[in-house]
């Protein structure tokens, strides 16, 4: 009767686990696996769109898709977006951390002498909030990639970044100083779709809950 639900899935680190999830709830992921150039995959029940993880909340909030999957890190960074967070999907576990060069006397000493800590990050809002809430002054410097380089090159005293195994940090002689949050993949819904397509969305959520 009604058109299929539109679901945004993230390309990148969460992509493979998301495809397995689709298979386990009866959404055929074969087209997504075999065709890496298309962005839109129509299906009888669910139409899948592939997006950058950080674009998922944008599409969901605007109602361009009904549902989306993205990391908690993305949702935390875009906290002001109104989306319904429905399910912790459990996979893609990472930690949002503050890290600095191994052996550095971090933070307290710098803050005492210079009044503020310089933090490089791809997550400026999470970083600013974290230091604000813990009563410290930080100068947040936004970079788009290779955050690990910033303390080595002297751009910043520390970084706020997402780490799964900690290997990249270690390879760059960085140490975790503080854990800000544990992050996993989440299922989010547009607020209007959540009301108007209640039965289809609840059925999908139930299938996700029932998977092995």
């Amino acid at each position: 009767m009604s058109e299929p639900l539109r679901l945004a899935v993230p390309r990148g680190a969460l992509f493979d686990d998301t495809l397995s999830l689709l298979d386990s709830i009866g959404v055929d992921s074969a087209p997504l696996r075999s065709d890496s150039r298309s962005l839109l995959f129509p299906g009888p029940e669910v139409t899948v769109l592939t997006l950058r993880p950080s674009d998922v909340p944008t599409y969901v909030e605007a109602g361009a898709v009904d549902l989306g999957i993205t990391g908690k890190d993305v949702l935390m960074e875009q906290q002001e977006r109104v989306v319904y967070e429905l399910v912790d999907l459990g996979y893609g576990h990472c930690r949002m951390v503050v890290a600095s060069r191994a052996g550095d006397r971090f933070a307290r000493d710098l803050e005492r002498r210079l009044g503020a800590i310089r933090i490089a990050t791809k997550y400026p809002r999470i970083a600013a909030r974290h230091f604000e809430q813990s009563g410290r002054q930080a100068e947040v410097i936004e970079v788009k990639g290779s955050v690990e380089l910033a303390p080595i090159a002297g751009l910043a005293d520390g970084i706020v970044d997402l780490t799964a195994s900690g290997r990249t940090l270690m390879e760059n002689a960085l140490e975790v100083r503080e854990v800000i949050a544990d992050c996993t993949a989440r299922l989010v819904a547009n607020r209007v779709a959540h009301k108007l397509r209640q039965s289809e969305i609840d059925a999908l959520v139930e299938r996700i809950g029932a998977r092995g």
Binding site: Q79, E85, L86, L196
Partner: protein, 328 residues
Amino acid sequence: MNYPIPPGTRDILPDEMRELRVLSTALLETFERFGYGEVWTPTLEYENVLVKGDARAAGASYRLFDEHGQVLALRSDMTIPIARLVATRFGEHPGPLRLCYLSHAYRAVTPQRGQQREILQAGVELIGAEAPAGTLEAIEVMCAALDAADLPRARIGLGDAGLYRGLLEGMGAGNGSRAGAVLSALERHDFVELEQRVGDLGMSERQQETLVALPQLRGGPGVIERAVELGGADVTQATQRLREVAAGVQERGLGDRVIFDLGLVRDLGYYTGAIFEVYDPALGHVIGAGGRYDDLIGRFGSSRPACGFALFVERLHVAQAEEERRGG
């Protein structure tokens, strides 16, 4: 030459204006048909007057000084100005009083999210009518207005501003910081965190299940029964008001237009009972909102029950265009 206008504002040219005018007129005529008289209030109000209605002046975001150094604010909704108007101009009126408006309200915007600073609202305020009768009249007028806007697929989300807080209190969670954390998760629509925070409350397993499942219940009138089955006496008490409105909605034959929503929350502090949101499948944003505010007018010295709603005219217009595109 380029002379910019502030982001979130816009010029409206004749083709669009003609359609907006037709839509606005249809809405106002509907309100008049139900006996609502149109009022205007000043766009600028004294900030300290707005703050009397709501501590955050209902989110008023633009302030300026007048020539005497008084702080003026651009109104962010029409409910507080009308509450002021009723208390000062109609203080002796026995009620009920039916007022409507077509007015601009002003809100702050986040850049690049398609938000508007200047929002055209068409709405009604029904003053001096108790729940549930007054609430039901507002829902009836809302349905008629959506028909007049030619949006038959639009639906009204109906909840209760005090429902979840009442449920927490009934279960003995009180007003502590842990209960606050649960409410905060609900306000952010974060059901993952809500479940974690409910776990911190030290409740029985059944109570926890109720607190997690209940705010996700939405749909036909059956959801209220499901909620009561789920949580027993605690839920029966917390849903008392909503069940009264629901019964009236069914009686008036409006059941198909209403989505009962046990997790609905609105971010304005003055709501006391029923709350509304309006949705259309052609648009991902809310196209209208409102609720009961039985304490608000009393803050201006003339206590009486009241409720109202506003439809966001530009969004109704976008929904109309999108519905036409999909239909044709």
